[in-house]
Symmetry: C2
Subunit: 297 residues, 2 copies
Amino acid sequence: MFSKETISEDYKIIQDEICRGLELADGSAKFAEELWEREGGGGRTRIIQNGNVIEKGGVNFSAVHGKLPESLKKVLKTDQDDFFATGVSIVIHPKHPLVPIIHMNIRYFEMSDEVRWFGGGIDLTPHYVFEDDARFFHQQLKQTCDQYSAEFYPKFKIWADDYFYIKHRNETRGVGGIFYDKLTPDSSGLDWGSLFAFSKSVGRTFVPAYAELIKRNKDKQFTDAQKQWQYQRRSRYVEFNLVYDAGTRFGLETNGRIESILMSLPPQANWVYDFSPQPGSEEEKTLKYLKKGVDWA
Amino acid sequence: MFSKETISEDYKIIQDEICRGLELADGSAKFAEELWEREGGGGRTRIIQNGNVIEKGGVNFSAVHGKLPESLKKVLKTDQDDFFATGVSIVIHPKHPLVPIIHMNIRYFEMSDEVRWFGGGIDLTPHYVFEDDARFFHQQLKQTCDQYSAEFYPKFKIWADDYFYIKHRNETRGVGGIFYDKLTPDSSGLDWGSLFAFSKSVGRTFVPAYAELIKRNKDKQFTDAQKQWQYQRRSRYVEFNLVYDAGTRFGLETNGRIESILMSLPPQANWVYDFSPQPGSEEEKTLKYLKKGVDWA
């Protein structure tokens, strides 16, 4: 059995690959790195800003350990104190309103040999939903999942629909993707080695999928109204991350490095009171797709 | 003893007064009203936008009743089901970066003759802290409090410092004000009539205090850098309201009218990665004042 050090070392390699891939896809901006340490671990926060394509994005690696707060012990139904967590987390906010926002996370959590698991996922938040792009994205994810288990994609797709859901708006954050948590041999039927390999495969699905979506959309013309709509959709992203996202909550409650946790928030977000899109518009069509249960793959 | 209907009728009158007062202070924009009803009550949402002074603001009245969700029953340590809640809630986001954001709320909550209370408060969030303005604001609040009890201002000022606190940023939302909750004869030594009168006096302190702060600052010159700083400070306001604010959480969990609850969010907010103000700048001075325990009155 590989050690937690092996996992974080491999996650670092994946972070490196992704940063190189995103710099290539952007064509102009470069990542700036900040190494940080806290009592019990540290990380490599990498931020890319003001590029050709990417307005603000982060690709973070961290490996931290510590004592679990009482509130989280209840949520995790454990009476153990010590945790180790490592992962790579990405959020990219593009400049162009027709290029989608994307999020990816792979993580490993361990409290003991008995209590440990993999988690992660990738999901897409287009400001405007293009059916072809959503289908392509889901097919890429399905392909990765199917290499490990035929049950993964259908299960993790539904999980993403349920997880990336803005309850108070009655809309999904975007067109979903895959989400999984507490993945163990017991819950999956796969051994630890396969689960680790799956985790890395998810990480390595990110760049080719997103680079293609950038290529398809980055040179399209757009209007000022589309730009305004982008700012409004970003405000929903803020609402999801601050109200519902478990990773963000975990970071805020475990006194994590705040700028690394909140790098997921967009450079600019607008709240317009009671906005309703024009009937028949592209904006209205997008809202219609922000529902659970759309079969994209 | 006055009824809950009397309380909501008087709160409506206060809403009317405040809207007239804000329109006068703005000098251009008018409130647009939406009446809404849901199963168990309704409200009057009033929004003012794109004025001389006010970029986006809401003055909401509501009176709702229903069944308390299990999660809130635990928080309130009650096993009763039915609740009634009425109140007036205000958030004003000014256009001008040197005019402060302000928030006011007065509310009454009732589950039975035994379980009921008043709550509320006013607090100020300047994008730039001006000592004279903060002192004036706190003195106005102290004057109102002192008419009812010498203990109110000191107690409610500390309460506001503790409540309007963005834990993950280790900063207060602004220069505070007053905050109180579960105010009853037992907790205050005042009879119900005096508590009701106090609640209305808090409501009537809002317009004169804010109109003065508008007058002092609305014609000052400002720079583009100050405007950018305003957008960044607004992002902290978003973080507080979505992560910590009990009223917002209550609204989201009781399936409230979402656009009325989230009218508190700013028209535009910006997140800049790891921003540090220049040493000696006005921005840095402002951050130094965003601490608990500053004696403004």
